[in-house]
C-alpha cells in the first residue's frame, strides 16, 4: 500500500447501545422518508432489506455516493456509512467525512418516531474499515500508514489519549480498526 494512493472508500460503523430494537424493519419507512425529504447530502436512491440474512447488512439506504446501513455484521448492531464515490482531499479529510456522515445519520435515526427511544448509539465506540483491499490490505503496514490520519480524526472528536484503538480481522478481511473511548471492547 502506498500513502500516495490515498484510500478513498472508508467505512465507519458506530455501534448501537443495547438493548436493541426488536425489529429493524422500523428503519424501512424512515429511510424511505429520508429519500422523499432528501434528508441527507447524497443522492438517495432506494432501500434494500436484508433483515433475513443472519449477521448481515440489515436495512440499507442506497445512495449514489454511499450506503447507509443499520448493520448487524458480527451480530453487533450499528449504523455503518460506507463510502462508494471518490472524494477530493487528504486521507484524513475523507475519513472525517465518513465519520461525520455516520454521526449525522445516527443522530437523525435516534430522533425518528419509529424508534421512539428504542435506538441509541454509543458514539464512543466505532469501527473504521477501508473498502479497497489493493490500496489498503489488512496488514501492519497499512495500519502504520493510516494511523496518523485515524488518530488525528479520533483526537478531534474524543480528545487525545481518551480512547483505545487496535486493528482487527484476518488478512482476508478489509483493513479494520476498532476504537473505543476508555477500555476497548472485544470486536
Amino acid at each position: 500500500m502506498s500513502t500516495s494512493l490515498n484510500p478513498q472508500h472508508f467505512q465507519v460503523k458506530i455501534f448501537a447501545s443495547p438493548p436493541w430494537p426488536d425489529d429493524l424493519g422500523a428503519a424501512i419507512p424512515v429511510f424511505h422518508r429520508w429519500i422523499q425529504q432528501r434528508a441527507l447530502p447524497e443522492l438517495l436512491i432506494d432501500v434494500a432489506d436484508y433483515r433475513h440474512v443472519p449477521a448481515g447488512p440489515g436495512v440499507v439506504l442506497v445512495a449514489h455516493e454511499a450506503f447507509y446501513s443499520l448493520d448487524m455484521r458480527r451480530n453487533r448492531l450499528g449504523l455503518q456509512y460506507s463510502r462508494r464515490a471518490a472524494l477530493e482531499g487528504t486521507t484524513e479529510s475523507k475519513l472525517r467525512q465518513a465519520m461525520d456522515a455516520a454521526l449525522l445519520a445516527c443522530s437523525k435515526l435516534e430522533s425518528e418516531p419509529e424508534f421512539a427511544g428504542s435506538l441509541r448509539f454509543n458514539t464512543g465506540a466505532l469501527e473504521i474499515r477501508v473498502n479497497d483491499r489493493l490500496l489498503a490490505p489488512n496488514t501492519p503496514e497499512t495500519w502504520a500508514n493510516l494511523r496518523p490520519a485515524i488518530d488525528s480524526c479520533l483526537d478531534a472528536i474524543w480528545g487525545r489519549g481518551a480512547y483505545r484503538i487496535e486493528p482487527s480481522g484476518d488478512a482476508r478481511e478489509l483493513f479494520a480498526v476498532h476504537a473505543v473511548v476508555g477500555e476497548l471492547q472485544p470486536g
Partner: protein, 753 residues
C-alpha cells in the same frame, strides 16, 4: 468507482489467463469508447449484457418515492450505458458458475467482490449463478479480472447467448443417478462459451443436465436443451448417453420440452448442441423477442421437422476434436473425499437444532459414510463474512467440493458422516445452519421489485414475510405440508420458476378505486419433481397482503382433506380448480383505500404502491368502476378456459380463452366509445387502430408483443388444438388480460377528457 481500478491488471498479472484478460481489456476499451460517445447505445447494451453487466431498477433515472415521481440527478447526467439506462445508475453483475461448481478460493473471491463493489451480499440465482447488485459499470473490468484470476468468467452470463449450463448439485454423489453428469455439463459449458455458432441468437439459450429422471434437481424438461443421463447396453457394453429434450422453457408462456432423442451417445452431445445452436441462429426469430426462444421455433416447425433440420445440420458439421477429447478424462473429474468415511452415532448428541437440521439438510451420498449437506440461504443471499467462513469449512471437511443449486442454496459434498455434528457447529457459528432445506420455508424467489426493472410486486418482500410466518406460527408443521415447494416471481417472466412449484406466485397489479394494488397470481399444482414434470395453472389474483392467508388456507385444506398418501398435485387435480378458486375467492377482495391503506403498499416497502396512478375526477371514477367490472368478467372467462383445459375439453378451452381476449380488447375500446363494435373482426381492427398502432397498449419492455397473442388467436380461431397449443392459448389469454389491466390502469392515471 474504486480508486484501485487502474491497478488490478498489473497486480494480477499472469494470474489472469490471457484469453480472459484480452476479453476484459476489450470490454474496458468499449466502456471508454461509450463514455466518449463513440458507441451506439444498443450495441453497447448488448456488449455489456454479454459480459453479465445488467441494468437495475430505476436506472432510467426516475423513481417514484411514494409521493411523486423523482428524477435521480446522477453526476454524469444524461450519459447512458444503453437505451434509457444512465451511466451512473447502479447495476447488477451476473457471474456464471457452470454446473454450480466452486472451490474455496472462488468463494473467497466472491466474498471480496461482494464487499468491495456491491453491498456485502452475494446472491445465488435460480441458474446456479451469483449476482451482485448496486455495482457501478466502471468497476466491472476490475471485478472481472479478479474473477478471472480465480478461474471464473462472466462472459455470456446475460444477453442472447448460451446462459449458465446447470446441473444437478448432487451429480456424482446421488443415489438415483445413472452416472455423474458433471464432466458433460462442464464440457458443454466451455465448448459453447464464445463458440462462433452461438453468437447470433435472437434470444437466450438455456441448457441443463440431470443424472436421473425422477428428481427435480436438474429441471431438464424446462430447458431449451435438457439432457437426462441414461446408460444403455450397446453391443454387450454399457454405454453412457442422454435422453435429450428440446424447446422447453418457462417465461410468460411456459412450454414443456419435447423429446428429441431417447438415447444420444455421449460423444454426440457436443455436436448435437452445436447443430441445434446453428439451427436456432439461422431459423429462430430475431425481431420479436417475445417469440424468439427456441420453444417457439420447435412449435413452429413441429418436433419432427425440427429433428430433421437439426440432423441435417449435424451431418454438415466439420469434425471437431473438442467434441470428444474430454471423454477419456471423464474419470479424472471424479471428486474424492478429504476424510475417511464415518457413521453418525445412532442418537447423536448434536448441538442445538441439529436433529431438525439433519432431517432436512443432510443427504446421505451413495458413497457409504458420506453426506452432502445443504446450506439453506435465505432467498439465496449470503454475506461476505459467511462466504469466507464457508470457504474455511469447505477446506476443513472436504476437498473444496461445493455446488450452488437452482433452489438458491449451496451444497457441500463429501462430508464424512461422523463430522456432521462438528460441521453443524461450524455452520452455526457462521449463521449458516438454518434447517428446512427443500421444505416449504425454503422459498425460491427472483429479485422482483427490489432490484429488477420488470418487477411488478415485491417477490422478496412476500418471501420474507412467508418465511417469518412459517418460523413464528409453525405453518409448515406436518410432513405433508413441509415437503411442498413455494416459488415466487415478481412478474410473469418466471425467473422465480413459479410454474413448477406446488404453490407458485407471480406479481401482477390491480386497480381499486383509482389506486393500484399489488397482487400475486396464484398457481397451484406445478411439479418440481420428474425434472419439472408439470406446470401449474393460474387460479386467480390475490392481493399481496393476503397471500400468507391464502397459503395458510390452501395448506390447511390439503392437510385436512387429502386422501391417504395423496400428493399435492393429485389433491389439486381431484378437488379441481373451480374449488381451489372458491377456496380463495373472499381473499381476492380489496378493502377500500380509506378502510385499510396497508393493502396499497407492498411488503417491506413503505411507499404507497402507485400514488401516481390515482384516477382523477368523479366521472372518471364511475367509468373506471364499470370497466373494472368488465375486466373481472374477462378474468372469470380465462379461468373458465383453464377449467375446460383441466377437463380435457381442448376445443372449449381454446374458444373461451379467445373469447376472453376479445372481451378484454372490447373493454378497453369502451374507454373511448360508449358503443364499441360487437363483431370480432371489427373489435380486432379497432383495437389494432386505437391501441396497437397508437402504441397505447405498448409496454415499456415488451412493446406491443402481447397484443400479437390476441391478433394470432383471432387469425387462428376455430382451428383444432392439441393439448399443448390449447394450453399455450390459455396462457397467452391470461397474459393478454394482464396487459389489458395494465393498459387500463395506465390510462386511468391520465385525466379523462
Amino acid at each position: 468507482m474504486k480508486a484501485s481500478n487502474s491497478l488490478w491488471r498489473d497486480y494480477l498479472g499472469a494470474r489472469v489467463p490471457d484469453v480472459l484478460g484480452d476479453e476484459i481489456e476489450k470490454f474496458e476499451q468499449q466502456i471508454s469508447l461509450k463514455k466518449q460517445g463513440k458507441l451506439d447505445d444498443k450495441v453497447f447494451a448488448e456488449t455489456r449484457l454479454r459480459r453479465g453487466v445488467y441494468g437495475q431498477r430505476y436506472d432510467n433515472g426516475h423513481r417514484h418515492d411514494g409521493i411523486t415521481q423523482r428524477t435521480l440527478n446522477y453526476p454524469q447526467g444524461e450519459l447512458t450505458k444503453g437505451p434509457n439506462t444512465l451511466w451512473d445508475a447502479p447495476g447488477m453483475q451476473r457471474i456464471k458458475i457452470p454446473f454450480g461448481g466452486l472451490n474455496a478460493s472462488q468463494l473467497e473471491t466472491l466474498a471480496e467482490l461482494a464487499e468491495e463493489y456491491s453491498d456485502g451480499i452475494a446472491h445465488v440465482t435460480t441458474r446456479q449463478d451469483f449476482q451482485l447488485h448496486f455495482v457501478h459499470l466502471e468497476d466491472t473490468p476490475s471485478l472481472m479480472r479478479r474473477l478471472a484470476a480465480a478461474g471464473i468468467t462472466t462472459r455470456e452470463a446475460c444477453g442472447n447467448t448460451v446462459r449458465n449450463v446447470t446441473a444437478c448439485p448432487y451429480a456424482g454423489v446421488c443415489r438415483d443417478e445413472s452416472f455423474d453428469v458433471t464432466p458433460h455439463a462442464r464440457a458443454t459449458a466451455y465448448f459453447l462459451l464464445g463458440h462462433p455458432d452461438t453468437q447470433n441468437f435472437g434470444r437466450k439459450f438455456k441448457i441443463a443436465f440431470s443424472g436421473c429422471e425422477t428428481k427435480g434437481c436438474g429441471l431438464a424438461r424446462m430447458h431449451d436443451i435438457g439432457a437426462i443421463a441414461q446408460v444403455r447396453e450397446v453391443g454387450g457394453q454399457k454405454k453412457r448417453g442422454f435422453r435429450i429434450f428440446v424447446g422447453g422453457g418457462l417465461g410468460p408462456v411456459p412450454q414443456q420440452a419435447r423429446l428429441f432423442d431417447d438415447f444420444l451417445p455421449e460423444e454426440e452431445l457436443l455436436p448435437l448442441c452445436q447443430a441445434i445452436g446453428r439451427v436456432f441462429a439461422r431459423l429462430g426469430e430475431k425481431k420479436n423477442r417475445n417469440t424468439a426462444r427456441l420453444k417457439f421455433l420447435v412449435s413452429k416447425l413441429g418436433i419432427e421437422e425440427f429433428k430433421r433440420v437439426v440432423k441435417e445440420e449435424r451431418a454438415c458439421l466439420e469434425p471437431d476434436p473438442s467434441w470428444t477429447d474430454w471423454i477419456p478424462r471423464v474419470a479424472s473429474f471424479t471428486e474424492r473425499p478429504l476424510k475417511e468415511p464415518g457413521l453418525l452415532p445412532i442418537s447423536p448428541a448434536g448441538p442445538g437444532d441439529f436433529a431438525r437440521w439433519h432431517s432436512s439438510n443432510v443427504y446421505p451420498q451413495r458413497q457409504e459414510g458420506f453426506a452432502a449437506i445443504t446450506v439453506a440461504l435465505p432467498m439465496g443471499d449470503i454475506t461476505s463474512d459467511q462466504l469466507r467462513a464457508l470457504a474455511d469449512i469447505a477446506r476443513k471437511y472436504t476437498r473444496e467440493t461445493v455446488r450452488t443449486t437452482v433452489e438458491q442454496n449451496i451444497v457441500l459434498r463429501w462430508i464424512s458422516q461422523k463430522d456432521l455434528p462438528a460441521l453443524y457447529r461450524d455452520l452455526q457459528s457462521a449463521g449458516l445452519a438454518s434447517p428446512g432445506a427443500g421444505t416449504i420455508s425454503d422459498i425460491t424467489v427472483c429479485p422482483g421489485t427490489d432490484t429488477c426493472k420488470l418487477g411488478i410486486s415485491s417477490s422478496r418482500g412476500l418471501a420474507s414475510e412467508l418465511r417469518r410466518q412459517f418460523s413464528e406460527n409453525g405453518l409448515a408443521a406436518g410432513e405433508a405440508v413441509s415437503g411442498l415447494h413455494i416459488k415466487i416471481s415478481g412478474c410473469f417472466n418466471s425467473c422465480g420458476q413459479h410454474h413448477i412449484a406446488d404453490l407458485g406466485f407471480y406479481g401482477v397489479s390491480r386497480n381499486k378505486g383509482g389506486y393500484q394494488v399489488p397482487h400475486f397470481q396464484v398457481l397451484l399444482g406445478g411439479q418440481w419433481t420428474d425434472n419439472a414434470g408439470a406446470y401449474g395453472l393460474a387460479i386467480g389474483a390475490v392481493p399481496s397482503k393476503r397471500i400468507p392467508e391464502a397459503v395458510e388456507r390452501i395448506t390447511s385444506r390439503y392437510l385436512k382433506n387429502r386422501l391417504d398418501g395423496e400428493s399435492f398435485q393429485a389433491f389439486v387435480k381431484r378437488i379441481g380448480k373451480a374449488e381451489c378458486k372458491a377456496m380463495l375467492e373472499d381473499l381476492m377482495a380489496v378493502p377500500p383505500h380509506d378502510a385499510d391503506p396497508s393493502f396499497y403498499t407492498d411488503w417491506a416497502d413503505a411507499r404507497e404502491y402507485t400514488t401516481g396512478d390515482l384516477g382523477v375526477g368523479e366521472c372518471a371514477g364511475e367509468v373506471v368502476s364499470e370497466l373494472d367490472f368488465q375486466l373481472a368478467a374477462c378474468d372469470r372467462e380465462v379461468f373458465e378456459a383453464q377449467l375446460h383445459l383441466e377437463k380435457g375439453d381442448l376445443a372449449k378451452a381454446a374458444e373461451v380463452a379467445y373469447q376472453s381476449m376479445l372481451d378484454g380488447a372490447r373493454t378497453l375500446l369502451k374507454r373511448s366509445s360508449l358503443a364499441p363494435p360487437a363483431q370480432a373482426d371489427q373489435v380486432v381492427e379497432t383495437f389494432r387502430r386505437d391501441f396497437y398502432d397508437t402504441e397505447l397498449f405498448f409496454d415499456r419492455f415488451v412493446g406491443g408483443n402481447i397484443a400479437n397473442y390476441f391478433f394470432k388467436a383471432h387469425e387462428r380461431r376455430g382451428q383444432t388444438h392439441d393439448a399443448e397449443t390449447a394450453r399455450q392459448l390459455v396462457e397467452e389469454a391470461q397474459l393478454f388480460l394482464e396487459a389489458v389491466h395494465s393498459c387500463h390502469m395506465k390510462l386511468s392515471a391520465q385525466p379523462v377528457a
